[in-house]
């Protein structure tokens, strides 16, 4: 763990280095967090919310640009200097080096059933992707078979395609739905319907690379019998309600702020 690390890589406890507190609800927040992990209010762009300036603020922070986040219209209503609604008492944030405990405890983890609802909706999208690929590839195979004079060959030849359809559709649909959208706005289409979002330990949206590794981890688990079931059920007994593919990249699924 580096001297400036905000959280212990071993146990996840906050070190107090660079910590700040949400001006809205008072929950502890990482110094580079774009949103409060408890109430979801945007921390970026609020004067005084980020001690010592904000890394990358000049170029815009990924996924958390003003207006890019629900409730972050590029300036907090009534955000007069030193007079935020519900502002923490004078003295916040505490001196550097004061331990504050595991920050993740402040996260409003999404319930398992809600997550499953999102999975089912995203699964329907994968199903739709499978249908499109099936129709295109089936048509091509039928055309090839008709040229060769073996119509029955096309009908049975497409069965091999079925083996590849699911992973292929998962990857293609996932690249948009679970990589691009999740890194861009924090949630996939299904997660948007059930009002949950994916954040990292600091409350930031995932980078595209991290979201891709998360997708890859889930797809890889899907190829090993019984592992997808374990992956899906793991939040039921996990303290942070993470699936295994969440743990693989250190992210969390939380309820979207109201």
């Amino acid at each position: 763990m580096g001297d400036q690390a905000a959280f212990c890589t071993g146990c996840g406890a906050g070190t107090g280095v660079g910590n700040k507190f949400c001006y809205h609800c008072g929950a502890p927040a990482d110094a580079v967090a774009a949103v409060c992990v408890k109430c979801g209010v945007a921390l970026y762009g609020v004067p005084g919310a980020v001690p010592g300036g904000y890394p990358g603020a000049a170029g815009g922070y990924r996924g958390a640009a003003p207006g890019g986040y629900p409730g972050a219209p590029g300036g907090y209503p009534g955000a007069a200097p030193g007079g935020y609604p519900g502002a923490p008492p004078v003295g916040f944030p505490p001196p550097v080096g004061v331990p504050m405990g595991p920050q993740v405890r402040a996260m409003d983890y999404a319930p398992w059933a809600t997550r499953v609802g999102g999975y089912l909706i995203d699964g329907l999208l994968v199903g739709a992707g499978m249908l499109v690929i099936w129709l295109i590839a089936g048509t091509l195979l039928a055309a090839i078979a008709s040229i060769g004079g073996s119509a029955s060959g096309a009908a049975s030849g497409t069965c091999c395609l079925l083996i590849l359809l699911f992973p292929l559709a998962t990857l293609l649909v996932g690249l948009f739905n679970r990589v691009y959208l999740v890194s861009r706005r924090g949630y996939s289409i299904g997660q948007g319907v059930v009002k949950v979002m994916v954040v990292d330990a600091s409350g930031n949206f995932l980078s595209q690379g991290t979201a891709f590794v998360r997708l890859l981890a889930q797809a890889g688990m899907g190829m090993i019998p019984f592992l997808p079931m374990l992956d899906l059920l793991w939040p039921l007994w996990d303290e942070r309600r993470q699936t295994l593919h969440d743990k693989a990249v250190g992210c969390y699924v939380i309820n979207q702020p109201q």
Partner: protein, 153 residues
Amino acid sequence: MTGRIPDRPWDAAPAAATAAVILVNAALARLLLDADEFRVYVAGRPIEWVCALRKHFGVPCPTCGLTRSVVLTLHGHVLQAWKLAPGGAVAVAGGLAFAAGLLALAGLRAAGSSAAGAFQARLRTSALAGTAIILIVWLGGWAVEFAGALHGR
């Protein structure tokens, strides 16, 4: 912070459970399945499915020989498996190595070792590199088979 995977650690339990599922699957497959160059046997009974693509078009599909290759590797016939479908042999080796790595990680976590964080980072990088290698070997092996089948027509 941007652009890299956070160092949030796996706990011992999920790492051990994932490794256990992989190893139990391998053990069950070795126990219940057998294979030769031509077919797979489930509890001694042969599976007579034939790849429809190969049957009707004379070329292999990407998954042709993969099951036989995996089963043969699990029974220790690695060279035979490699000749059938190199991807299967590499996938089994990679899966078992990953399971061993997860068990080692779980052990380090349970012991509270300070080396666990660095080990997890190395394991994650290795897993990603291994996945890429498996995909390349699998698709490369299939491409060679495919080209051979076309050439032999």
